[in-house]
């Protein structure tokens, strides 16, 4: 009996040694886990172990890649469920992804943070956690004392801050293109916009774990500003600060005027080595309805171009006013 136990132990040890290289779990993001005092939902989808393909130019399909190891398939199945949830909550994203595949863009990951908002007469408010009154379609609650509660669906809103990572290149190190975008769902209609005072400019920031080579910004508006709904550099948005791995753009937003911000996107480019540990790209949006400026503090240093990335570069802010502004944060973790 003792002899058989030994044989069994040795066989088991040999099997473990033999299969160890196969047991490499994909590093996936975890849902939630933020310390925000406001209601929000964060998630990330990694596409490395998923098949993303387009049939007849019009149908995008996502499935677990059948060629990966059985252990990776467990993680990939979880990523597929996250993808299904994301598409259910953001149906417009399916078209966006369809276009990405049709453009042959290799999608590494999508990370997003949804923030439910209330339109409070002339500005948007975030909804604090730990509230009591059931108020909106997002299934979230708010204190009646903090925010004027309404059942008017036109006053309920959601802002999604999303970061999409694509890459290009034939071998490691690759060139990465993180793009952070903000989308206002169900923006406010024009409330006597021309007679209302303009709100202060908003701020969009992004920091990368490696020195970046370029940045690009775009904005779109619900109504025509200077003859176009597309924001124009120097008129509707400005690069106002930044160092080697982060940038700060200032963008015009007037929630009750003509320049109602509909979408914005901020992209950077960097070239780095893929590693076995995850590093973060941090994205921030600071919304205000009063003129203010923001000073930025940076912690962490960026990795050099083509080398290994740093642990990440984090930003913190000091606005010149304490109230009439709020922030939204999103991050994406990936094996750079």
């Amino acid at each position: 009996m003792k002899y058989y136990k030994k044989i069994f132990a040795v066989v088991l040890a040999a099997l473990i040694v033999l299969y160890t290289p196969c047991i490499s779990f994909a590093s996936n993001s975890k849902t939630g886990g933020n310390s925000s005092e406001y209601e929000e939902y964060h998630d990330q989808i990694n596409f490395d172990d998923l098949m993303l393909y387009v049939v007849n130019k019009t149908d995008i399909l996502v499935d677990v890649d059948p060629t990966i190891s059985i252990f990776k398939k467990i993680g990939a199945k979880n990523q597929k469920e996250k993808y299904n949830k994301y598409i259910k909550e953001h149906p417009e994203a399916k078209t966006e992804m369809l276009n990405m595949v049709n453009d042959s863009d290799y999608l590494c990951a999508i990370s997003y943070t949804d923030a439910p908002l209330l339109f409070a007469g002339d500005h948007y408010e975030r909804i604090p956690k730990n509230n009591t009154a059931n108020i909106n379609s997002f299934g979230l609650k708010a204190k009646a004392a903090d925010i004027s509660i309404t059942s008017d669906a036109s006053l309920r809103h959601r802002l999604t801050l999303k970061t999409t990572i694509t890459r290009r290149g034939t071998s490691n190190p690759y060139t990465y293109y993180p793009s952070t975008s903000g989308t206002w769902e169900n923006s406010a209609s024009l409330f006597d916009g021309e007679t209302q005072p303009a709100g202060g400019n908003d701020f969009v920031l992004q920091s990368c774990p490696t020195v970046t080579s370029s940045s690009v910004f775009r904005s779109t508006y619900n109504y025509s500003t200077d003859g176009s709904k597309n924001g124009q550099e120097g008129i509707n948005y400005f690069l106002t600060d930044g160092k080697d791995s982060w940038v700060k753009y200032e963008v015009v937003d007037d929630p009750v005027g003509l320049a109602q911000l509909k979408t914005f996107s901020l992209g950077q480019t960097f070239r780095t080595r893929t590693t076995s540990s995850t590093k973060k790209i941090n994205s921030y949006y600071i919304h205000t309805w009063k003129d203010m400026s923001v000073s930025v503090s940076v912690s962490g240093t960026a990795g050099v171009t083509g080398g290994s990335p740093s642990a990440g570069v984090a930003l913190s802010f000091t606005p010149t006013i304490k109230d009439k502004q709020w922030q939204l944060y999103n991050f994406v973790s990936y094996n750079w």
């Binding site: 098949m51 393909y53 007849n56 863009d105 290799y106 290149g169």
Partner: protein, 208 residues
């Protein structure tokens, strides 16, 4: 006594390794398909009711993928393809494959006169890593389809050129493959666009 024990454990270790390899090999053969198995899989799962599938190789120096295209079947149904990837056992292949995907679009409607199918996807290399460059396939059966030439605009960075080529013809089927799209180098992007299909008389019969 010690020598005897060392011999005994060595024997167990060798036996265990042989056993582990054997289990692994059995798993490899039980989870992969031979070429004939691939063809049978296509016949069992065809939506076009095709009775014959032509096999077309990858066309690259390492034939990692095998494409099986429906050569006949219901002409009112879309063109059909099944894609399989070669699976290696260590560095040995034994010409075994695993199913990756098939074209599963819905029935062709009356307005849609398209005589070709297409799939845009990302392949994996020998090491199992997903490749950054995309692959775009066009395919169809010769039956009911007379596509002989195609024209496309290849753009790399800011430079673009128009090319006209003959389609690759297999046994009763035709096939076009673009690869490494979106991926020219770190600064430039490679894309194909304005893809037009012509019949043997030079008539334009399809646009992608």
């Amino acid at each position: 006594m010690v020598k005897k024990r060392i011999f005994k454990y060595s024997l167990i270790m060798v036996f265990s390794i042989i056993l582990a390899f054997s289990i692994n090999l059995i798993y490899y053969f039980s989870t992969t398909l031979s070429v004939q198995d691939c063809r049978n899989y296509c016949l069992e799962n065809t939506e076009r009711n095709s009775t014959y599938f032509s096999r077309i190789g990858d066309g690259r120096y390492v034939e990692d993928y095998a494409y099986f295209i429906a050569a006949n079947g219901d002409p009112d149904k879309p063109q059909e393809i099944f894609i399989f990837k070669k699976k290696f056992w260590g560095s040995l292949s034994f010409d075994r494959y695993e199913f990756i995907m098939s074209s599963t679009q819905s029935d062709k409607n009356e307005e849609d006169e398209t005589e070709f199918g297409s799939i845009h996807f990302f392949t994996r290399n020998d090491a199992g890593e997903k490749e950054t460059g995309a692959t775009l396939l066009f395919f169809g059966a010769n039956m009911g389809s007379d596509i002989t030439e195609y024209e496309y605009t290849l753009k790399v960075g800011e430079k673009s050129n128009i090319y006209k080529k003959s389609v690759t013809r297999g046994e009763f089927v035709w096939f076009i493959k673009f690869y490494d799209l979106g991926n020219a180098d770190k600064n430039n992007k490679k894309t194909v666009s304005d893809i037009k299909f012509y019949d043997s008389k030079g008539n334009l019969v399809g646009i992608y």
